[in-house]
C-alpha cells in the first residue's frame, strides 16, 4: 500500500470528503476488524467495534475535528481509536449474544464453517488467558507488533510511547514467554 494514498485521503477526509473516507475504510477495515477480534475474542463484538471506530472517524470529519496526519499512514490513528473502543467494550457489561443467536448470525450472514468461527473465538480466549501473566503494556506491544504487523515506529505512535519502550517491552515479553507453550505467539520476522 503506497503511504501517499493515506496522506492524500486523510487530507481530503479533513474536509469530510466521502470518497476519501470510503478509500480509508476499504483499505484498513480488515486490519482493524482482526485487531479488535484479537482484543475481544468475539467476531460479533469485533464487528461492532470496527463500525464504531469508523463511525467515530466520520463524525469527526463532518465536525471538522480530524487533525492532520503526522506520519505516512493512518494506521496508528485507527489502531489508537480501535484500542480505546475495545477497552470501552471490555469495561462495559456488553450484551452477550447467546450461542444460538450467534450461530444463526453466522449461518445467515456468511456461508462459512460455524465450527471454525466458534473455534477461532475459543482459541483466542485461550491465547489471551495464556498472555494474562504479562503486564498490559507488554500485551499491547505483542498485539500491535507481532499480530497486527505494525513497525516499531507505528506501534510507538499508536501507544504514545518512545520506540525504545516498545523494543524493551517486546524483549521482556519474549524473555518471560521463552520456553513456554505461548512462545510462538511473540515471534515476528520484522519485530
Amino acid at each position: 500500500m503506497p503511504a501517499s494514498d493515506d496522506v492524500l485521503d486523510w487530507e481530503l477526509l479533513r474536509s469530510a470528503d466521502e470518497s476519501a473516507f470510503t478509500s480509508l475504510f476499504e483499505r484498513h477495515r480488515d486490519r482493524i476488524y482482526n485487531f479488535c477480534f484479537r482484543r475481544l475474542s468475539d467476531w460479533s463484538r469485533a464487528e461492532d467495534a470496527t463500525q464504531a471506530v469508523f463511525l467515530q472517524l466520520w463524525r469527526r470529519a463532518r465536525a471538522g475535528q480530524v487533525e492532520a496526519l503526522r506520519g505516512d499512514t493512518a494506521l496508528p490513528v485507527l489502531f489508537t481509536m480501535a484500542h480505546q473502543e475495545c477497552l470501552t467494550q471490555q469495561r462495559t457489561l456488553a450484551r452477550r449474544t447467546s450461542l444460538t443467536q450467534r450461530l444463526r448470525q453466522v449461518r445467515t450472514r456468511e456461508r462459512c464453517d460455524a465450527d471454525e468461527w466458534l473455534q477461532a473465538e475459543h482459541t483466542m480466549q485461550l491465547i489471551r488467558e495464556a498472555l494474562a501473566t504479562l503486564p498490559e503494556g507488554q500485551r499491547e506491544v505483542i498485539e500491535l507488533v507481532c499480530w497486527a504487523e505494525m513497525s516499531i515506529a507505528e506501534a510507538a505512535a499508536t501507544l504514545g510511547v518512545a520506540e525504545g519502550t516498545i523494543k524493551s517491552r517486546l524483549s521482556r515479553a519474549r524473555t518471560t514467554l521463552a520456553g513456554s507453550p505461548a512462545a510462538h505467539l511473540v515471534e515476528a520476522d520484522h519485530a
Binding site: P2, D5, V7, L8, E11, L12, R14, S15, A16, D17, E18, S19, A20, F21, T22, S23, F25, E26, R29, D30, Y33, N34, F37, R38, W43, E47, T50, Q51, F54, L55, W58, R59, R62, G64, A68, R109, E110, Q119, A120, E121, T123, M124, L126, I127, A130, T133, W147, S180, P181, A182, H184, L185
Partner: protein, 248 residues
C-alpha cells in the same frame, strides 16, 4: 498455562463491508447552519447563469432510504463549503455531499468561488475537488505528481456509487474515455502508457459499487500552462470541469 497454546486464528475479512459503510455514511444529516448562506449563494449563481429550471433541494436525506437519500429529488443538492486546510499537497479544496439526481447533474457541488454548477448541470471546480454524481464520484486531487517534461498530469479517482441499467457481473466499466484536457483551446493527446507516472489510471477496468479507480492521468502538454480538464461520461452525461492553473 495449558500444555499447548494453538496458533493465532487466521484473519478474516470484515463481513458485509458495503452495508457497514452505508450505515456509517447515513449516520446523521449534515449540519444545516450553513444552509441559508449556501442557498443564497447558489441562487445568485443560478440567476447569473440564466438558469431558472432548477433549484436546490433543502430536504435532509431520508435515513430509511440509505445514504443515497430519497429516491427522486429531480435537482442537484447543495452541500456546504467546508473549512479548508493548507497542508502540503493540497490547496484546501475537496468536499462532497449526498443526494441524487435523476439527470447527469452532480448530486453535490458546494457553491463557492472555487466550485459551482452551471445551467446545464455541469460541475465546475478550480484546481481540485470532488463531483458526486448518481453513478460515480469523480475526484481530481490537488497538486501535480512528479513533473515530467512535456507532460501534464494529475492524480484522479473515480468511484462507483450506483450501477447503471446494464451492469456486467455486478460491475461497471471505468476507463480513460471520459477524460479530456485542453490547453490554450487545443485538445491535448492522452498518454496512456507512460511508465514514469505511477500508479497510472486504468485504461479500462470493471468495478463494483463502492470500488474506486485511482491513478495518474497524463496528457502531452506543459505543466506550467493553465489547463481545462473535463470528465464527461457518455452513458449518463455526468460532466465536471476543472480549471487548473499552471502557476504555482
Amino acid at each position: 498455562m495449558p500444555d499447548q497454546i494453538p496458533p493465532l486464528p487466521r484473519q478474516r475479512a470484515l463481513p458485509e463491508p458495503d452495508r457497514m459503510l452505508e450505515t456509517i455514511l447515513a449516520d446523521e444529516p449534515r449540519p444545516r447552519r450553513w444552509l441559508p448562506m449556501v442557498a443564497a449563494t447558489t441562487l445568485a449563481v443560478a440567476l447569473a447563469a440564466g438558469a431558472t429550471a432548477w433549484w436546490y433541494d433543502s430536504r435532509e436525506p431520508d435515513p430509511s432510504a440509505g445514504y443515497l437519500g430519497s429516491p427522486s429529488p429531480a435537482t442537484p443538492t447543495a452541500s456546504p463549503a467546508r473549512p479548508t486546510t493548507s497542508s502540503a499537497g493540497t490547496n484546501g479544496t475537496g468536499s462532497t455531499g449526498t443526494g441524487r439526481s435523476s439527470t447527469g447533474a452532480p448530486t453535490s457541488a458546494a457553491a463557492s468561488p472555487s466550485r459551482w454548477v452551471d445551467a446545464n448541470g455541469t460541475a465546475h471546480f478550480v484546481d481540485a475537488g470532488t463531483a458526486t454524481f448518481t453513478h460515480f464520484s469523480v475526484t481530481v486531487e490537488p497538486g501535480a505528481p512528479t513533473p515530467v517534461a512535456g507532460q501534464w498530469s494529475r492524480r484522479v479517482r473515480v468511484c462507483v456509487r450506483e450501477l447503471g441499467p446494464a451492469p456486467v457481473d455486478g460491475r461497471t466499466r471505468i476507463s480513460w474515455d471520459p477524460w479530456t484536457l485542453e490547453q490554450d483551446g487545443v485538445r491535448a493527446q492522452k498518454v496512456v502508457d507512460d511508465s514514469r507516472q505511477r500508479p497510472s489510471y486504468p485504461l479500462e477496468k470493471w468495478f463494483a459499487p463502492q470500488e474506486c479507480a485511482t491513478g495518474v492521468i497524463t496528457f502531452t502538454g506543459e505543466a506550467t500552462q493553465d489547463a481545462t480538464l473535463t470528465y464527461r461520461n457518455a452513458d449518463y452525461g455526468e460532466t465536471a470541469v476543472w480549471q487548473i492553473s499552471g502557476k504555482k
